[in-house]
């Protein structure tokens, strides 16, 4: 069985974990430089604050409805994300970090998956203060759909939902609109709706042949997964609006640092390309390494490091530089590495951030990257590569509503009032 664990309103929940006053209050998190809203609590959503809302346009409603605002505190979010992901390893050795606030687990066999869902939810909340939704099913795509149910009906499901019978699977598919199928994309949704397909159930009734022809092998695998046949494995990478990842298992294990540096550079460069293809920039980068857990006799090691970038970027140069820095911090000699990855998070649309160009990076990077992408596309394969470069310039961001770095700075830890009470 697979489980997906998804943190509810993750950024808002991180703020609330250290400032319980904010629980149940409408809360919006702002982008770098406090330009626009990048995350909202459900209460703020209900008050009509849209994603990406420019702050200046919504000043009035924010004051009027007493909506709390915070600058993005990526040091806090990154650390809390690491905690959640590490805690999830208590439940399964197979954890796939899917984004800053989501992870897939391959669950060990048990006869009570309800209990597993319940325990995961409670344990993560107790240890981090972050509420999560859990979906459990035979396949990844179904677990994702189960998670939708848990999220949509928190009272009824208590935050976790298990699909363990055929009846439940069919009921779910008939309820699930095409557009909410995991990784289906806007183009496919449109195509399917034109064909009169509106629910996941109707999608699974199409012939394999039609799906393969019109939606490629990826679409077919999705169909199989929804039919309850595990087809999408934990290693697969599917794109998601919150994170871009390039992760690989190696054919052979190796311990050589130079080799690993090269791998990480390649992953970073691949991720950056994907980022530019989606016209996005990222704020956070995560690098992780893993030994081969099937070789019990070897020393086991897994580590990850999350770094907050000084400004949002999609430059391969900058991203690689930070990826190498993260690698340096976690690389342990003598370990036989089997798997590694680079994950970019805190994504925002690049056109939204060009407004404050002078606060970002060297504008030359933009041109350079676009030239690099064009050449690489033209000559297939990546002909233009990076050499190590030092081009670090950091700028002070505008963060007028920044909360303390409760878990990453001693001077910022919470204070306990023992004066008046």
């Amino acid at each position: 069985m697979y489980a997906i664990i998804d943190c509810n309103s993750f950024f808002a929940s991180c703020e609330r974990a250290f400032n319980p006053e904010l629980i149940d209050k409408p809360l919006a998190i702002l982008s770098n430089n406090d330009g626009c809203v990048i995350a909202r609590s459900s209460e703020a959503k209900a008050l009509g604050i849209p994603m990406g809302a420019p702050l200046f346009k919504y000043k009035e409603i924010i004051t009027e409805k007493n909506i709390q605002i915070r600058s993005s505190n990526y040091s806090l979010y990154g650390d809390m994300s690491e905690r959640v992901m590490k805690l999830l390893e208590t439940f399964s050795p197979d954890v796939e970090v899917y984004s800053i606030d989501e992870a897939f687990l391959k669950l060990p066999k048990t006869d009570d998956y309800q209990k597993v869902g319940h325990t995961i939810k409670n344990y993560i909340y107790q240890c981090t203060g972050i509420p999560v939704s859990v979906g459990i099913a035979h396949t990844k795509a179904l677990s994702k759909a189960a998670n939708n149910i848990a999220k949509k009906f928190p009272e009824k499901t208590n935050g976790y939902y298990v699909i363990d019978t055929e009846a439940k699977r069919l009921k779910l598919l008939k309820w699930l609109p095409i557009k909410d199928i995991w990784g289906i994309g806007r183009g496919n949704t449109q195509r399917l709706q034109n064909k009169g397909v509106y629910t996941a159930y109707e999608f699974t009734k199409l012939t394999d042949d039609w799906v393969k022809r019109n939606m490629s092998i990826v679409g077919l695998r999705l169909k199989k997964d929804l039919e309850g046949e595990p087809t999408i494995q934990l290693e697969d990478e599917l794109q998601n609006k919150k994170a871009i990842a390039t992760t690989r298992s190696f054919e052979f294990t190796f311990s050589d640092k130079e080799n690993m540096k090269e791998r990480i550079a390649t992953f970073a460069s691949r991720c950056s390309e994907k980022l530019r293809m989606q016209e996005c920039s990222c704020n956070v980068i995560m690098v992780y390494l893993k030994s081969d857990r099937n070789k019990r006799t070897e020393s086991q090691y897994r580590a990850s490091r999350v770094l907050t970038l000084p400004y949002a970027t999609n430059s391969t140069l900058t991203i690689n530089q930070f990826a190498q820095k993260a690698l340096n911090e976690i690389f342990k000699p003598g370990i036989k590495y089997k798997r590694a990855g680079v994950i970019l998070m805190g994504l925002i649309k690049t056109n939204a951030l060009q407004l404050d160009l002078f606060q970002n990076e060297d504008p030359k990077h933009l041109k350079l990257m676009s030239a690099m992408d064009t050449l690489n596309e033209k000559y297939r394969g990546r002909k233009i590569k990076m050499a190590n470069q030092d081009l670090q310039r950091t700028w002070k961001m505008r963060q007028a509503h920044l909360s303390p770095e409760y878990t990453t700075k001693f001077s910022d830890i919470i204070t306990l009032n023992c004066h008046t009470i």
Binding site: T128, S255, G334, Y406, T407, I413, L416, N417, H419, I421
Partner: protein, 146 residues
């Protein structure tokens, strides 16, 4: 012969003709007993290891004030807090009550919960229905600067 170490395994390899030299090795090749100290090196005492059972559930906070001096929690002390521990009667807990974080000893009775100060100048807080209490974490260690 050339002797070299590769990771922790000492290996002896043939070297090219006429090129005989020895390299310094700090372990692995020994005529007698291996040094009994070898097994213990690199294990320097770490407060993190001693005080932090699980770093993913451990948080820190600072005391401000004197309502808990009887329990050894003085003004400005640093507290190690483990959120994974289940709150129980008699434990010292970081609590969020009336819009503020504080630290108190828990007294859990059948009827209700009391937050007990350890200083005669302070009164216990009775957690009634109209008071919202969040037990945030359990204190496991106190660190003081002298």
């Amino acid at each position: 012969m050339k002797v070299e170490t590769n990771d922790n395994i000492a290996s002896i390899q043939k070297v090219k003709q006429g090129n005989i030299y020895l390299e310094f090795v700090d372990e692995g090749i020994s005529a007698g007993f291996p040094s009994p100290a070898d097994d213990f090196k690199n294990k320097r005492i770490s407060l993190d290891e001693e005080l932090v059972k699980d770093k993913n559930t451990t948080y820190y906070a600072r005391v401000s004030g004197e309502s808990m001096i009887g329990a050894g929690l003085d003004n400005n002390d640093l507290l190690v807090i483990d959120k994974s521990i289940t709150p129980k009667d008699g434990k010292i807990a970081v609590c969020y009550v009336d819009g503020e974080f504080t630290v108190k000893r828990l007294k859990i009775t059948k009827e209700c919960v009391f937050l007990m100060p350890e200083n005669d100048n302070y009164k216990p807080i009775k957690v009634t229905k109209d008071k919202q209490l969040l037990i945030w974490g359990i204190v496991t260690y106190v660190i003081k600067k002298l």
